[in-house]
Symmetry: C2
Subunit: 376 residues, 2 copies
């Protein structure tokens, strides 16, 4: 993987860049649609490529390991072939899912013992096994096993937690270095900074993680319940320490406003379930604010879903029609809302890149964050 | 609406034809994808037009009347504009839905009193009101209000039932004749033959219905639990009586085998929820038989969903991937299966037309019905 910085914003730490992977180039800052179980919910791969022009999507090691299982993915020749997606993929290590989904979780220096949210079966993720699984999944970017601390988490517990994350990283990085890709193309391994909401621990974790000669670095354990300002504070501490010439990935964040603020702090990659999950529930993000499509006010508004967008769903369908689909629980409602929101998130990133390039990012951001948070 | 017969099969009553509507031409025999509430479930309108080349779809008066409601559809300028579908639409009258969905149903000579399956509210459908509603929906082909008798239904009850259906038809037809389209383009009104599984009543109903100078005629009340041979027996009786030079529509039928048998009896139009509903549950129809995609046998079958089909879902995705989506309850599974099944149904109709044209229909049908019913 190769990363190069293309433009820098004068008024902030924002930058544009280009990541070159074995499955194509990615302009950064970039948003990765979440395809948890090998599918971005309610969206065809053809739509991801042709309508959204997504360059990279995310899969989840935890989900794919449980279903369809690693033997199936190996026989398919990796996740790209299994789901017929020939652009880049990043897989999350499963640390967050073990934290958020598993009923039982026991963390030891050996690894994370957990019970499946599907059938209760017990499984152990070790730092080495997580690398092996992601070798078989074959994502272009794979993540280290980490402990995602709950929120709130006191200083003592958070300090102990990053110690475990750092131990696991040492083992995972060594195992990654000693193993080879399954399918002939290069994979990159990203360590993850943790440390909850404690500035000194975030700093210590970033210093430790930055010691590894990785292709990129991630920030985990944020957007788990803490105030928004804390997300920015922690992110700013970490981006000030991580190598400037490598991509930085803020995991699981967030709202459109979160993304713009994090870009200004020097973040390059994002993923979040919000555009698809909230979309399925009827929440649409637009450049003018947020619409709840179940609201009665749209019932006879026959204007396009989003006249500012060139995505086919925004131009073809009306607000009144989408409201009808949402109220009726029709699958097409989830399809339209997911496409709209992903299209908007990807537009927001493209626009941010353009504003950084032209030197207007900070000014543009201050206008946008007022608009984006409005309720329409 | 104009209908012309193009070819006739020598060995059966099968024929090909062309229906010209205000929203385009339709080659018959034709299958109409069911878009109950103004959406063919899990399928974008763009896919219906570009990938499936559907020429006509079906909407349900009962559902659309309850949700979004007639005032919304009127304000939208009709269902075509509301759902952004510029090809032909047929709306069912609601007789079947009042029978199958409504908790309370009281039929009088005045009309059908029923309670909404959504909120229990009471509504009255009269033969005149059903015409008015369908004028506002603006479908190209609209249906008379009928009573769909339950199965089984004894001779006395069925005789009484067709009497009501015929009374309602007289009023509906007159009301249709005295009213005008809402949106400037022509609408056609189809009466419906009933009579349960009693040959003499089916005959009497067909004779009565055929008296009306309609653009086409429908057969209702079949495929409600009776044996398959009875469907064919009743259909054959009715098609022998209905005008030969008008299109005949067999409502709510059925499996691929049902369609081919009914074509041989002279049926021109079909609709059925089976391709979409069964598809969402993992059942795929193919020219080689039926696949249950939840079956373990597909788990590592990486061949295309259907290598005989040119539809993008059949070529792009594998059986193993589709099985994974179905087992995981992913929306994309419903999307793929719905597109596959509709693509197959529309291919089957196109192939039937081609075989009728070339004079091989009966021979081809006898081979196909053995293949189609197999379990793969």
């Amino acid at each position: 993987m190769h990363f190069s910085i293309v433009h820098r914003d004068k008024g902030s730490a924002a930058r544009t860049g280009k990541i070159v992977t074995a499955h194509g180039e990615i302009d950064t800052p970039v948003f990765m649609p979440v395809g948890t179980g090998g599918t971005v919910k309610a969206v065809h791969q053809r739509e991801l490529a042709n309508d959204l022009n997504a360059r990279i999507i995310l899969g989840n090691t935890y989900h794919l390991y449980l279903r369809p299982g690693i033997d199936i993915i190996r026989k398919a020749g990796g996740l790209h072939k299994f789901m017929q997606w020939d652009r880049a993929i990043l897989t999350d290590s499963g640390g967050y899912q073990v934290y958020s989904l598993s009923g039982i979780r026991k963390l030891t220096s050996e690894g994370a013992l957990f019970s499946s949210h599907i059938d209760g079966s017990r499984h152990l993720f070790t730092p080495e096994k997580i690398v092996d699984i992601q070798r078989i999944i074959g994502a272009d970017i794979i993540m280290a096993l980490d402990e995602c601390a709950p929120f709130p988490c006191d200083h003592t517990a958070a300090a102990k937690s990053i110690e475990l994350t750092h131990q696991w990283l040492a083992r995972g990085f060594e195992h990654f270095s000693r193993t080879s890709p399954e399918y002939g193309y290069e994979q990159s391994f990203f360590p993850i900074v943790q440390g909850s909401v404690h500035p000194d621990l975030r700093e210590a974790s970033a210093v430790e993680i930055a010691k590894y000669p990785a292709d990129g670095y991630a920030i985990g354990g944020l957007s788990v319940g803490e105030p928004e300002d804390t997300i920015y504070e922690m992110t700013g501490i970490v981006t000030g320490i991580l190598p400037d010439d490598k991509p930085r990935y803020l995991m699981g964040v967030g709202t459109p406003v979160n993304l713009l603020e994090a870009i200004s702090l020097g973040i390059d990659l994002f993923d979040c379930v919000m555009p698809t999950r909230n979309g399925r529930n009827g929440m649409l993000f637009t450049r003018n604010g947020i619409m709840n499509m179940r609201n009665n006010k749209w019932k006879d508004d026959f204007s396009p879903v989003d006249s500012d967008s060139s995505c086919f769903v925004d131009q073809n369908y009306s607000k009144a029609y989408l409201r009808h689909l949402m109220i009726s629980g029709e699958i097409l409602g989830a399809q339209i809302a997911s496409l709209h929101n992903l299209s908007f998130y990807l537009w927001l990133m493209a626009e941010a890149r353009s504003q950084i390039k032209s030197g207007n990012f900070t000014e543009w951001k201050s206008v946008m964050i007022k608009q984006l948070a409005r309720r329409l």
